[in-house]
Symmetry: C2
Subunit: 332 residues, 2 copies
Amino acid sequence: MNASTPAPRPALLGLDWGTSNLRAFLLAADGTLLAERGSPRGIRHLAQPAPAGFEQALDEVAGDWLRDQPDLPMVACGMVGSAQGWQEARYVDCPADVATLARQAVVIRTAHGPLHMAPGLIDRPAADSGRPPDVMRGEEIQIAGALALQPALAARACLLLPGTHAKWAQVRQGRVTGFRTFMTGELYAVLRRHSLLGQTMPAEGSTGSDDAAFQAGVARARQAGPGELAHQLFGSRTLGLTGQLTPQGQADYLSGLLIGHEVVAGLAALRAEGDGDPPPLVLIGEPALLARYAGALRALGHAPAALLGNPAPQGLHQFAQAAGLLTEGPTA
Amino acid sequence: MNASTPAPRPALLGLDWGTSNLRAFLLAADGTLLAERGSPRGIRHLAQPAPAGFEQALDEVAGDWLRDQPDLPMVACGMVGSAQGWQEARYVDCPADVATLARQAVVIRTAHGPLHMAPGLIDRPAADSGRPPDVMRGEEIQIAGALALQPALAARACLLLPGTHAKWAQVRQGRVTGFRTFMTGELYAVLRRHSLLGQTMPAEGSTGSDDAAFQAGVARARQAGPGELAHQLFGSRTLGLTGQLTPQGQADYLSGLLIGHEVVAGLAALRAEGDGDPPPLVLIGEPALLARYAGALRALGHAPAALLGNPAPQGLHQFAQAAGLLTEGPTA
């Protein structure tokens, strides 16, 4: 870009509005990220009851941008569209792509104009499968962003989004055809904070990690037969009691065990669905967490094809484009 | 017993002293339970720092009995013998029977005289098995009691003690040869109290239960491949979201899922060890919890051979006898 080129004009406000946090992205018409802000006003941490609390949070995080450009289109994804959010945007059935999301968007009339909210996705397995339905809300937009960043994935891929509720999503021809949630991050958090296991681990956020202990947990997960997690968990305590793991090592062993279990089950499903030829697996999320998953995947025989950061801004841009918000945007 | 027979004289004070509670049993020389008391002074709930807190708790729960009969022998089991207890009684290796426990007892000099404390057990699998060690503390005495109550089990049995940390113990020729812990009860508690899943369940201790939901959880556990627990857990939420489970049903489904996973893994180990001829399985614990386990076991194809209540008093009696405390007891 030439130094004299004017900065691209904002064309979209994108909001990734979850339970704990709110992130605001100011985007150009071509999807370039111009500015980004974080706010602690997740839907559970509003300063006032709904709907005023939502209005206030929106104004706090992006009011100046919206006053500068009153016609700026606004899109949102995440728990803001849940039954506990600003207004419910019902789950859309798989298979679905970003055009499906745009068609099923819910539009909220806010003090700053209309806000287009993406629905979540629901995977309803056949009734005779015995599998309950599965849901996601927010990740469908990250997936749309990942497919925009790496168009080659659209044909066939598995996208793995680790976190509190990790998602393994199958993509075929640009659509999410099905997915599975693993409560791995939440299990780790509740066991560390509230169970006996956490009592002999260092405070969360302590620096340093014991990679050998993590890999020992992964190796132990590899041995697991069906139903063995509740048994294997106790090993983090007994290996501490017998001096084989330090306090930090116990935390990393637990992490390896839980991530290992998830990866064992996720890869088994991937292999079953891929009929012996599993699709490329792409990891999306925080680098430190992705490094752990990548380590577990390598140890369990399936290295990831790529690691991506947070593609939510690109996904929100795709969603706005599919909803026709960018072509109709202000041109002044 | 003839109506004119005098009440048997107390010959032993037995203490089952855990993390949260202390139970005191006054026993006759033949093991008859004469009186029983509970106290909230588990080792984490002492009114003063150790060792005075232990002395005080002992005096509170049984001081009058001990003043009436100052030479009454005293035995204890449970977390009181852990590193965080009154004095540590180190874990004894499997295989072990009650005589082994008696030989390795630790004797504390208390204000009320000597207290013989049973050690816990440790199962150290072969190093090349990849299995961490496993430990129990308190259950070894319940097992000794169960074998006293049902001598036929001593030859060959599996004793299942559900609870916060459920134990599956193999018994051969009167000795515990190995065991596995499952953190099923603690997983249920932390998920219900601290995870997203619990947010749509009724308050704990609410009356009523949904047996069909429990059995649906067990049936789902039966489908589990290795590593699938963290995925299957999320079903309790999605079945609630889609109106297929009531709030109470979600709690019972979670219970069925967790107990089902444990039973799937426990039975697999039992069958592997039994070489196609699994030993009789005996359940020990609270009736309501045993009813759930019995339901899961029947659904998964292995009905329990018997259900026993808490055999800790009988176990403490066996331990005292093996330690020679009853033959040397006061005869006045």
